[in-house]
Structure formats: C-alpha cells, structure tokens
C-alpha cells in the first residue's frame, strides 16, 4: 500500500530518446508568462532554475495527502512521509551513483553542505599550519567557510590560479599540493564562467598527497552526469533549486567512512539514538547529520526533479544545452564591443560578458524591458572578477528548456542596449 501511494509521486522514468525542447517547455508553467508584455526569456538558471509540473505536483500531493512528521510516528501518514523522504534519498544515491544511501545527507543547499564539512570534518582534521587549497574561480560559499575554519584552526588557505580563458592551471595547482595540504575544495563547474574543472585529475593529484577533496557541484548537477565513485571525490555538494527542485533542499554526499568518523553538526532531535543528561549517543548515518524536522516536501520535490532529469536523459540534456551554448556564443561574438569572460574549452551553460561602454547593471535593466532575465554583478565571485579586471559581468545561464530563438532574443536585446548607449 505504501509503495503504491509513493509511486504516485514519481513521474514516468522511461528515457526519451528524441529531445523536443518545445515539449519540455510545456512542462514548465512559468515559461508561459509575460514580462513587460513580452514572452519571458529566462536566462538566469545558474541563480535558480524554474520548476516543472511534476515537481510542483509532487509537493502539492505531499501536502494534500501525506503531510506529517517523519521518523517519529507509528501512524499511517508518518509512515508514508518517512517512506517518501527515504525514497528521495535513494533517488539521489542512484543519481550520483553513490555506494550507499547513508552517504547522502539532506542539507539546505550547497552553502550548508560546505559549512557542515568545514565545521565537523574540518575542525577534527585541520590543524595549525595545515593548508586548504581552493581555486581562483570559487563561489563565496566555497571560500568563506574555509576562511572561517582557517581562522579557528590556525590553518592557511591557498589559491590555485586560472588562465585568461578561465581554466584552472593544473600545473600550478599541483605545485601548490604538498604534505601540509589536508583538503582541496573546488567547483566542479564555475558559476561565473562555466568552466568545467578536470575533477578526476584534481582528485587523483590530491589523493597522492593524502588530501581529501570536496567538490562544489552546484553548477554541474543540472548539466553533467555525475558519478561520485568514478570521480572518487570524498565529498560532493549541490543545491536542489539549481536542478529544477525547490529551494531550501540540497545534498551533501560523503564517503561513509569519513561521515562515520565525523562529529555531528547540529544537536537536536532525530540525530540521536539515546539521550540522558550524562551522555548522548548519536544516531546512525545519515541521521547523525539531520538534526530536527527536515524540509520533507523539499526532499520529495528533489526526488521528483531528479527523476524528471533522468526521464529526459542527462546526456540528451547536455547535448541540447551544448548546441544552445555554441549558438549563443556565436551570436554574442557578432556584437561589436562585447567581450566574453570565460572561454574555457570545457564549458557548460554560462555566457558571462561585458559590453564596452555599458555597465552590466544597465544591460540587465534594458534586457528586462524585453522580457529577458539575466544576472548582473559579481556572481558571488569577487576575487574572480578582480582576476579578470572587471567589477561585474552580465551573465546569461542556460537550462534544458532554453532555445535557439531565445539566443536570438538575447542578441537582439543587446543590440537595443547598444542603440540606447550609442
């Protein structure tokens, strides 16, 4: 009975071989709306993605028919909710090809996942004089938690440089590795440039020095097939909302033996197995890291989102997005005075640029009048902006529902910007 009720939450998982972007668009109700009387052209997907109907439905169904607290009740609804929650964990496990479900910890998002590792694994394993190695293209959420940890522990933060195309200088990175390096924390895909980092090589090199590796997968998960066992990373974190799931839910993957040895993050209900005033025994993995009532509907939305992505086929999505990116790159290169920031050979879904004589903020306002949503600013990567000598960029970022026509709309919008500022 429980399983029957729960399968109702799941969309069909048969993989579509022919990727029809117009059919896909029909799954996303918000794409039908107009902005300033023009059709919405949503190109701010690196900030957050829109949600398909199956995800919205799964969450509505949960609140309509199953809502209750998990892991605590013997009553039917609590059992149903618990099962949905744990099924989502299993969906994430399969999506990442993790060895075990207990290696999947539900967190609020990438930011919380990184802070969790910093404050538990980090405080237990990083000491005075140790080094944490990051790259010059990190999001603030993969910089600041390590700065805090370094301050607490007397450790040092090292930064591997990037070249003018925005690619990690692998040789420089390897030179920075040493006996003191305890952790490498790096983006799988850069949110400001779209650069895909050579994560296999990074992990291999780090492991030679016995350093652990955390990968920030926030921008990789919607675009690439991620296999944490093939990559062999020690931790992998991502946010649900960047892969068509709701906000407020994310994933920390960690190798079981590391998670087992780590102290808990927050104390409270669900993370304990017994409490007396003298001594508390912590719960098993992953519950040790899931104190308090979690975002149950969020986990259900995340499960539905990953099933949705799987039903499209991540390879088909990647192929489609590559075409759009290539076409968009070509159209933008035709615009006089436009400079692309981030031209890595391995790149996903991001068109970051500056337009000569026009501040990105003005670009954003004018495009918005055309119904085109892009992001302007430093993209939470101020050190990277400094590296490229710009205070900010305009960034168009892609998702599976973007079309060639939208790249034309963007290019036409940018021509309008040039006219206003001519």
């Amino acid at each position: 009975m429980t399983t029957a009720a729960n399968t109702a939450f799941r969309p069909q998982t048969a993989t579509r071989t022919d990727f029809d972007v117009y059919k896909v668009r029909a799954d996303f109700p918000i794409l039908a709306r107009k902005i300033h009387g023009k059709p919405l052209v949503y190109l701010d997907n690196a900030a957050t993605t829109q949600k398909p109907q199956p995800v919205i439905d799964a969450m509505v169904r949960y609140y309509t028919a199953e809502n209750s607290n998990i892991h605590r009740g013997v009553h039917t609804l609590s059992e149903l909710a618990t099962e949905s929650y744990e099924q989502s964990r299993a969906t994430v496990q399969r999506f990442l090809n993790a060895a075990e479900a207990r290696e999947i910890v539900f967190v609020r998002g990438t930011t919380e996942g990184i802070n969790l590792v910093a404050q538990t694994w980090g405080r237990a394993n990083i000491g005075r004089g140790d080094e944490i190695l990051i790259s010059a293209m990190e999001h603030h959420s993969n910089i600041v938690p390590w700065q805090i940890l370094c301050e607490q522990q007397g450790a040092n933060l090292r930064v591997a440089p990037v070249n003018d195309a925005g690619e990690l200088l692998l040789g420089e990175f390897e030179k920075l590795l040493g006996a003191k390096t305890k952790l490498v924390a790096m983006a799988h895909v850069s949110n400001a440039l779209g650069t895909v980092n050579p994560v296999r090589k990074i992990v291999e090199a780090a492991h030679r020095f016995d350093a652990r590796v955390l990968l920030d997968g926030a921008q990789a998960i919607p675009h690439l097939a991620v296999d944490v066992r093939a990559i062999d990373c020690d931790f992998y974190v991502f946010s649900g909302h960047k892969v068509y799931a709701p906000t407020g839910i994310g994933i920390l993957y960690g190798k079981a033996e590391l998670l087992e040895a780590m102290p808990p993050y927050q104390g409270g209900g669900d993370m304990i197995s017994s409490v007396t005033f003298e001594k508390t025994l912590y719960n098993r993995l992953p519950h040790k890291f899931e104190a308090g009532t979690p975002h149950v509907s969020g986990t259900i939305g995340l499960g539905a989102a990953l099933e949705y992505v799987k039903s499209m086929g991540i390879e088909s999505i990647a192929r489609h997005e590559k075409q759009i990116l290539a076409y968009g790159t070509k159209r933008l290169r035709e615009i006089p005075g436009l400079r692309l920031i981030g031209t890595a050979r391995q790149k996903e879904g991001i068109l970051s640029f500056v337009l000569e004589g026009v501040h990105p903020h003005d670009v954003g306002t004018i495009l918005d009048q055309e119904g085109i949503a892009i992001r302007t600013g430093h993209h939470c990567a101020q050190p990277l902006m400094e590296r490229f000598g710009v205070p900010a960029t305009a960034r168009a970022s892609l998702a599976l529902y973007n079309t060639m026509e939208e790249m034309d709309a963007l290019a036409n919008g940018l021509q309008k910007v040039r006219e206003v500022f001519a």
Binding site: H359, H361, T365, I366, Q369, T376, G377, P391, A392, V420
Partner: protein
Amino acid sequence: MSELRDLYQDIILEHSKRPRNYRTLEVANRKAEGFNPLCGDHFTIYVEVGDGQIRDISFQGSGCAISKASASMMTQAVKGKRTEEAEELFQKFHHVVTGKNGTESIELGKLAAFAGVSEYPVRVKCATLAWHALRAALRGDQHAVSTE
C-alpha cells in the same frame, strides 16, 4: 523603448559618458566613499567646505550609467551651495526618485531627469549612492557608506 527613455534620458546618458568634476580634489577637506555591494558601484566624493559652503566638489570611481550620471549632476547642483541646502536638495531628490513626488521636481531643475528611476525600484540605490556619500562627507563620517 519609450519607457526605457524615461529612465535613460539624454541628459543622463550624456553625463554618464562625459561625467563632470570627475577627478580627485587636492584641496578637499572632506571625503567619503559610497559602495553598492550588489552591483559593485564604487565612488569617492571629495568636497572642499569653507564657512559652511561647498566651495568645490569632485568625484571618482566606477558604476552604472545611473549612478555615474547622478554623481556628475549632483556635483554641479551642489557646488557653491551651503551644506544645509545640499542636504535639503538630497531630501527632494530622494522623494523624486522614490516616486513621492509633490512639487519638488520643479524645484530640482535638471535633477528632475531622474524621476524615471521611480519606476525601477532596484535602481533607486544607484541614483542615490553619490548623495549618500556626499551626506557622509559633509557630516564628517569617514566610513564608506554602503547602500545595502
């Protein structure tokens, strides 16, 4: 396009391309920075005050068209004014860019060109950044002012 022109009026575009009083001021005895962390706009305002009067004023920095034009036109508007008058002008300017416009746009003269900003709430901070920095400079507050 017509709506956009309300925001990007010719005088605003012109000042953003050729900002006036865009330099450091050697004789400045007041100085303050304005910073908008959201978009990275960053200006320094230099003021020479004597006997309660703004004798000279200049600015430097980088930002969007709205913030740069606003800084440029502000320096023109307040030069030679008494410090209290400059504060009053900021009050009126603030009302106009936030849409609480009474008869003030008439008194603002050229600065009334910024009335279109009231249709773009996220851009109000751009228009007022230099003014906030000016106020900090006049009040002798050396800390950078932030619009966040």
